[in-house]
Amino acid sequence: MQRRTALKQLGFLAGGALLLPSCLGKQTAKEATIQLSNIAFNGNQESTLAAMCEALIPKTDLPGAREVNAHHFVLRMMNDCYEPDAQQKFLKGFAQAQEAFEEKSGDAFEESTLAEQQAFLKDIEADKVSVEGENNLKFFYEPFRGHTIQAFLGSEYIMTNVFGYNMIPGTFKGAVEINANTDLKTILG
């Protein structure tokens, strides 16, 4: 039922036809791995979003956005903390981003190279992506970007291993001298 609603939603968003590449040929979409009550999002879309998050903050010697489940956080926030109008514009903008990407590269977003993906995100930021009809890209891109960054910086891995988060400092010192500007744990202490 949820899947059918999701498909219907997608059809509507794409102008009545199921043009979304991840659905083409299969006519089915897998279920998302996150339960959402207010926005319709299927598993294929989830994979695309995860790839977008990862393109924004890729894995290096430290985890990237996918590994810290940033895509789930983006969806959780969109589902729970936004007005219905913002939710719909987010979905429309997401669909437009998918479409625009495919039109440009011929491939689905998650099936292209990181370089292509990142070039596309830069194009969105530079307002260089054109879409047909009302442009909702920024209503997708801004919350997507903001919450991906929030999920990354607020992840257990980054907070503990990089920034030295300590829930129980035990004491407070008002004037601590910093010896090096690279001494993150002191700076953030």
Binding site: Q118, L121, I149, P169, G170, F172, G174
Partner: protein
Amino acid sequence: MNINVDGKAQNTFDAIVIGSGISGGWAAKELGEKGLKTLVLERGRDVKHNVDYPTTNMKPWEFEHKGQLPLSVIQENPIVSRCYAFKEDAAHFFVKDNEHPYVQDKPFDWIRGYQVGGKSLLWARQTQRWSQLDFDGPKRDGFAVEWPIGYADLAPWYSYVEKFAGISGNKDGLAELPDGEFLKPMEMTKVESYFKEKVAAKYKDRHVIIGRCAHITDPQPIHTQQGRVKCQHRDLCQRGCPFGGYFSSNASTIPWALKTGNVTLRPHSVVHSIIYDEQKGRATGVRVIDSETKEATEFFANIIFVNAAALNTNLILLNSTSSRFPKGLGNDNGLLGKYVAFHNYRARISAEYEGFDNFTKYGNRPNGCYIPRFRNVHKQETDFLRGYAAGFSGSHNIERSYDGVGDELKNNLLHPKLGKWHVGSHMMGETIPKESSYVALDADKKDAWGIPQLRISMDYDDNDEKMVKDYMEQMTEMFTEAGFTNIKASDDHRAPGLDIHEMGGVRMGKDPKTSLLNKWNQLHACKNVFVTDGACMTSTATQNPSLTYMAFTARAVDYAVKQINAKEL
């Protein structure tokens, strides 16, 4: 009302305390320690120290929305959502708007905590003594009525409660803000110490001091006996502190009271009214409605302490009618519910400072700096009455670039730097209690327990407007003098209530014709009823009020028990 008569003996105590928040907890402790069989009635659920703090050890990444509340919660609760602490980690300790409606004759954001411990779990923990200058206010400036007590009456009780609660502070030696029994002060940051020096150099009567707060910085045996240890500087107080590092009824007075074996705590007990016996000429007990079953029960006692929090104490007394007191218990003069007031928190100021580049802080400080009132302190100097205190704090901004996509963005995010210092302050203005500021019972609307809803009517006046303007001007001058830049002063025009310092309505005074309570916090007209929460306040001064309620409560219990022992009560 369907009364469950449980056998009067079983429902009879030496004392009843209505409310288990900051003052009710103290009443329970003092009465229990003095051997009185005491029933503590709390309208909300039980919150046991360290058992019922579900979020206290959660890490930032464990919160589903990283601290933010879902939109539906905010939309369903527009009033409490305006409170700074109503967030994902502590929302469960706040009253939700629709569960406990009230009538706003004028806009008033009434922030409440209905559970054992009340708002003592949520308070900002700032604890300053009043000075004689504050008690002199109404008489000197001709408003409200004269206080029936002075600093000397309260000073030993301030000491008494401070030692037990654990108050951190610096002995600053200021006449306008008497020193207390302090545990060691918390440290100032670089920019705060700098501002303190700058202000001291320019103004002989203005002082920037470290906040005096109810945190254990140097545990004494009395704190260890309570099972409380040193503040760990987590700064997550609103979740309930597993260390008991700050004072709450839950961590301190309530378990202490229960340990005496004399105190019975009864959660889910909504007090409908106080029972007045016409023949005996005294209050004999309270009518309670079970919040869950709605069953009514009566409890009886020789003395009753009303500590339901300022406005709810007014509500209970107004709803306690009898042929002797048709307008509410003790309300012979018709002033019950009137002369309520609050603290004016409308204005704030922020700025930046460049310097101390290689300094930061370690740990989190659940405290700030404090600027005691400096306007009209010893004599009238401005075109408004009274004055304001101010909070102040300064911390080194952590800046990072959020630019780029991919590796560039990631690299930026992972390399924050110290930027300029951020400094900020907010005002805490004394407001003048007036007859036109009142709470009253609504004639028709009732709550889910059949109790009339409270109508609230208080507002800012011209004096408050002038004070907001003066705060912004004076702080701008002080910030400019200190070389702060990008100074921004603003007035958020918030409704009264968000200060969570509502006071009065059952004011103390010398004359039964113009006040409700005498100098021992007894109702003039019903001496076995004591009011020692914010409702008793004749004027508001500028101090955060809880410490004063604690001192009033301990003092009143001491008096009550002496009177009982002397067969006077």
